[in-house]
Every structure is written in structure tokens, then in C-alpha cells.
Symmetry: C2
Subunit: 404 residues, 2 copies
């Protein structure tokens, strides 16, 4: 059975994702699709609109065969670490290839870029650091740094968000010494960060914006997502009473920042360069999470970076706890969220040769990463009123989802 | 000017307190009454129903001349440390005597008890520890320990709550080597812990219970408090929208316990003897603060002790931060909340000879205790919705209250 890996967030699962998985399957001639998906908190430092179980289920109903959880410690990170965690996860399930969507749509320029850059990492990193320090955003600074190492591979624009991610995936695959073959399909028109829905293929950002401004799912939203997703969204809203967003967690981070001492704040992942003082100074003024972000934001601290820091404050995740992720070459475990019957067959065939423990429940194994996973999940569900919470959160201690 | 010290919580200020201050003034022939009052969190581990400023104001309007804040580090503590903090505070303002209410009503038995017990502390403490370990409550265990050292002073029952406190005050006065003279007046009938209002003199507990079960102040409540208190209560409720109670802080302590690691919980004041594990185990089950307390409570962990622990969890106060309070013989500062013009005159006369800095704003001085004070105050006001909060919390950075 040939397996194709997908690296996803599905926040929420939409028509563009359907296109991505179908095209990937076709292009790679795969029998099974194995997705590694962020959990309840996402790469850009946000709570997912609905929990990982409901997002996974919609994907399984639409052609994905296995959904694995990208550990929190890699998920809420910049592109390189996010990619590393995702690649190590897929690799430990012996997936044959990884197919990502990109603006470029051809994989060779990514591979060429990787080989061109090899050995030039220190120059690249120095340049990157210099431009970041000068106040450029990460995409801007990396563009400059690529120029400095004379990277001009067939017009591959490494300031475009999905090209950046794609390049990180290719790099992570080679650096892990993985046998997985990188592949890419071209993304359709809709920009990653488009604020508004313009078509039946729309960005997840635009879909979330539209969802959050209406009580019911509007026609625009319904046209941009498969029926399984509208069912998942409605089902989740009925059970929990809400779609998760940062404002639900504002009072928790405010309380945490007001009561932690400066030296405690400094230990939190992402609290750097004096941000601990800025946090303390602005905590009481902030009228909402959004307002607090506005008070904190400067050229130096990008929105995404600040949001990631706030997720780590919310889950009390320290720099010390994350030290291991930089040096790990294999994962301590892989967590299975759900599978189709074909996915189950694939897993069963692989099982004997797996070197990494495959678990579905947090309780199955003792590991510091799983402690963090549990804190993240517990915190995520705190947004839901208590009388509705335990019903929805119980999946966390149940078996993986099976979609036939 | 002769000054009489009162040790109070005023939660809220009621007719019994009016009787206490008038009788104390008469009995000690004092010109000014100096009260040391708990701040926003109280000895029994609860948030005060209204903030310290509104409680202080009502007292100043009723005959108290100076209100000083008992530092948080002493206020949310068992009787001995509470007494120590209060006595050191009054002592640093050169107060002449301390007059407390007691079931006994005569001060000599308290003094005799102190002298009788002197030198027998180790036996007493061993016995106390033994009985506590055997599962007795603190009042029960101390009663047994008093019997073991053959304390039978004129029928002074040291299991009665105000006698316990009174004895702690006398002990603290002698141990501090203070020149202040202890005095007592007999409390009127109403029991300290009476759950219901029975008269115009009622316990603060019964008044709070009655307030919390009605939207408006009932006639029963109004009959048991002076007009200045009903004004203060109504005024506070109008401005803030609420009377503070533990349930307002439930989600904060729940989030904190769910996200702190075991070793971090162990550092919090009051988290002892495996309570960290019990806390973690029960945190998700708890449907409310009250329910959580029910889940945690055993013979070994009394209600008050658990509540105090929760206050320290809420304010992130560690054992390490409180180490100093056991050895300190003078306070690092005394904080003035308000005064009458007579009180101001007293303060002005004393000012030159004061050895302890007298401050009104937290910002006037740098001290670890003041950091805790700020955290406590910030947390206390988090119960109030943001748009009403800053208006009411601004007193915290203003001048002391002056009531003419």
C-alpha cells in the first residue's frame, strides 16, 4: 500500500483541502492518505475553531485515511519546527511521500533551493538574524537572507506563505534523512490570508472570519466547505455553545500575566527580549485579547509570534520543556486521532515494523510532551461552560475515531 | 493623644463592629481608634464582599480614625501569624493598647494563659501536631493541647473562635516585646459563625449569607448594619455589578491548577501533604468552587485551610515568598488606607518618630510583599467586568481616603 502524507491544520476543513487531498492522491498514485494535523492550538498561535476530533472526523469522511496529531510542542512553532515535527510524524509511520500545496506547484525548485542553501546555513542565518533585528518581519527578513545567499531558483518566491512552508517541509525531509519523497501540487488562486470568501475555494482565514461574524453558517461559508464540515461545525456548536476564539481565553492569560512574577514569565516559551515587562505593563490596560495584541505589537514582535507566546502562557509551556525538540531525531510517540477502514488496514500492516509507539490516548504513555498535550487540551475546553464541557471533552480519553 | 488599636476584617462593617469600637474607646479612654484591617482577601481564605477601600470608608464614617492595611502575607494565615502581622502593624504606629472582642470579656485570663504557657511551647506544639495529625480540626486539636499543658485559667475556653484570636493577640504582643496593653470587651451574644441573622447585632457570616441570597439588601441586613455600610454596599454594587465571592474566581484557580506542573503546585503556600495530587485529580471534575471544596475536604484538610490555599493559588503566592514573615520583628512598611481628620492629626504627630515607612500607594516603595499585594489586588478586581473595573480599581493608585 502506497501512502501519501499531508501536513494540515484543517481549521476548518474546506473545499480547498478536498482539492488538495484528491489531487495529492492522484498525483502520487497513493492508496492511503495519512494526514498529520495540528491539535487544538495552531501554528499561528490560535485556538482551533472546533476541537481536533471534530476536524479529524470531517477529513476522514472526505477521503483522508489516517489522522495523526502533530504534537503541541511542534505545532505552535515557527515554520521550521512545525515542519520538523510533521515530517518526523509521517516518517515514523513509513509514509512514502509528502505532498504539499504551494504557490509554485513544482517540487524541483524546492529541492534545488535546499541543495543550493546547504552549507550556506550560517550565512543565511546571520543575514536572517540581522534583518529580523533591523525590524523586518520573518517573511521579509528571510527573503533578504535568500537574496544574500544568491538563491534564484526558477523564480521560486520564498516570501509566499505556502512556499515558505513547502521549503521547510523539503528541508525537514532531507535533514531527517527520510526516504519520503517530497511532492507538490499547485494551490488554486485563493490567497492563504485572503480576509474574505470570494469563491467556493476560499482561505480558512476568510471562512473563519465569515463564521465569527454570523450566528448561523452563511451561504458563503456553506459554499466553501463540504457538507461534512458544516455538519461538524453545527454539531460542535450545538454541543459546546461556541466556536473557539482567542477572546474566550483572554481572562486566563490576563490573570496569568498579572500573577506570575517576572522571572516566571521569562521561563515561558516565546517570552523574550523584554516582552515580560511589556506584558506586565499592558496587562491591566487591555480591554480584550485583540486590544492587548494591539498594545503589544511592534515591528519587532509580529502578530503571529505574539499569539504563539500567548498560547504558551495559556498552557504554561516553558522554554525548558521545549529544549528537547531541537535535537530529537525521532519522536517519543505518535498519536492517532482517527482512521478509515483502509487507514486501519495500513496501520495494521505497518504496526510490526514501527519503531515509535503509536498511541491514541494521552494516558497510554508517560512523557513530558504528553503532559503538555494534556494541559493544552484541558485549557482548550475551559472555553466551554462546565455543564457542556465534560460531554465534549471525553473524546480525549476515548478510542480513536473510526470512519468506515 | 491616646490611641487604641483594633484588629478587624469588617466584611462587612456591621452593628457589632460599631459596638466594638465604641466600647473599646470608652473602656480604654482613647482619643483615636486605629484599625488594622485585612485587605481584599481575608483570614478565612475568602475574597472580601466589597473591596478594602469601601470597607475602610464605612469604618471611618463610624468612628474609626485610622485604617491600616494588614499585609496579605499575614492576613491570609492561621490565627498566630494573622495576630503577629496585626500587632506589628499597630506597634509600628506607636498605638497604646489593643482592644479585642472575646467570649470571655476579661483580659487577665488571657495574660495568665500566656505566662502559664511560656516555656511549655514545645510540649504544646508537639501535642497540637499530634492531634492535628490524628485528624482533629485546629480548634479541637488546640483544645486538647491546652489540656495537655494543664491550662485551666479561670474557665477561659480556648476553643471559642474569638478567644483563640484574643489569645493570639496577647501572645503576639508579648512576643513582639511591645509596650501595647492588651484589653478586651465582651462580645454580645451573637456567635461568630451564626449562619442566620437573628438580631440587629449579627455575625458577618450571617450578613453575607443573607446578602448573597437576595438581589437587594433585605430589611434583615439593613437592620444589622449602619447606614454607611448599606450605602457602601449599594454604591459598590452599582459601580461593579457584583459582590465578590469565591465562585467569581473558580475558573482562574481551575485554569491555574490544570496548567501548573506538580512541582510548581508544591511551591504554592498551603499546598502540602500531597494536596498537589488531590488538586490535579479533582480539578476537571469540579463543577463550581463549592463543589471543588467538597471534593477536596477531608477531616485532615479543613475548609478554612483549603480556602486559604486556594487564595494563594489564585495570587500565585509561594512558600518561598512567605519565608520572611516568621522571623521578621518589624514590618518593612505600613500601608495607610484612610483616616479621619483626628486620625490625620495623630499620624502627623507620630510621623517623626516612626521607624517603619508609612505608605499609601503600592508604588511608593519596592518590596517583595508589595509585589504580592499588587497581585492580590489585581486578581481581586478581575471578578469585575472590564468596562467597570478600571473605575473601581483606580483607588489602588490614589491617595488614602480622608473622612472629615
Amino acid at each position: 500500500m502506497k501512502a501519501c502524507g499531508l501536513i494540515v491544520e484543517y481549521n476548518p476543513f474546506h473545499n480547498g483541502h478536498v482539492y488538495h487531498l484528491q489531487s495529492s492522491k492522484k498525483k502520487t498514485n497513493a492508496d492511503v492518505l495519512v494526514a498529520v494535523m495540528s491539535g487544538d492550538f495552531l501554528q499561528r498561535g490560535e485556538p482551533a475553531i472546533i476541537d481536533k476530533w471534530h476536524r479529524a472526523e470531517a477529513a476522514l469522511q472526505s477521503g483522508v485515511d489516517v489522522v495523526l496529531e502533530l504534537p503541541y510542542v511542534y505545532a505552535v512553532q515557527h515554520a521550521d519546527l512545525f515542519a520538523k515535527g510533521a515530517v518526523l510524524t509521517l516518517n515514523s509511520l513509513n509514509v512514502d511521500c509528502v505532498c504539499f500545496g504551494s504557490e509554485k506547484g513544482k517540487v524541483k525548485p524546492f529541492i534545488d533551493a535546499y541543495h543550493h542553501l546547504k552549507g550556506k546555513e550560517s550565512t543565511f542565518n546571520e543575514e536572517l538574524h540581522l534583518h529580523l533585528k533591523a525590524g523586518l518581519s520573518f517573511p521579509e527578513a528571510s527573503k533578504k537572507a535568500y537574496e544574500a545567499v544568491q538563491l534564484t531558483t526558477d523564480g521560486l518566491d520564498l516570501s509566499k506563505p505556502n512556499n515558505i512552508l513547502g521549503f521547510s517541509y523539503v528541508k525537514a525531509i532531507y535533514e531527517a534523512g527520510s526516504m519520503m519523497k517530497p511532492e507538490t501540487i499547485q494551490r488554486t488562486k485563493s490567497g492563504y490570508h485572503d480576509p474574505e470568501i470570494k469563491d467556493t475555494i476560499a482561505s480558512a482565514t476568510s471562512i473563519r472570519n465569515e463564521i465569527n461574524t454570523n450566528i448561523r453558517l452563511s451561504d458563503k461559508v456553506i459554499n466553501a466547505i463540504p457538507k461534512v464540515t458544516s455538519d461538524a461545525l453545527n454539531n460542535y456548536k450545538n454541543k459546546s455553545g461556541l466556536f473557539h476564539q482567542w477572546e474566550h481565553y483572554f481572562s486566563f492569560v490576563q490573570h496569568t500575566v498579572l500573577t506570575k512574577r517576572i522571572d516566571e514569565l521569562q521561563q515561558i516559551q516565546g517570552v523574550e527580549e523584554g516582552l515580560e515587562f511589556r506584558l506586565k505593563k499592558t496587562a491591566k490596560k487591555a480591554k480584550s485579547f485583540y486590544h492587548w495584541m494591539e498594545l503589544l505589537k511592534t515591528k519587532r514582535y509580529t502578530w503571529t509570534r505574539l499569539q504563539r507566546m500567548f498560547v504558551h502562557i495559556l498552557t504554561n509551556t516553558t522554554k525548558h520543556e521545549l529544549q528537547a525538540i531541537h535535537t530529537l531525531q525521532t519522536l517519543p510517540y505518535v498519536r492517532l486521532l482517527g482512521f478509515s477502514s483502509r487507514g486501519r488496514e495500513y496501520i495494521n500492516r505497518q504496526k510490526k515494523q514501527l519503531e515509535t509507539p503509536l498511541i491514541s490516548q494521552i494516558q497510554s504513555l508517560q512523557h513530558p510532551f504528553l503532559d503538555i498535550e494534556e494541559r493544552a487540551s484541558d485549557t482548550y475546553y475551559l472555553a466551554i461552560p462546565h455543564h457542556k464541557r465534560s460531554e465534549i471533552a471525553k473524546q480525549e480519553i476515548g478510542p480513536p475515531i473510526l470512519v468506515n
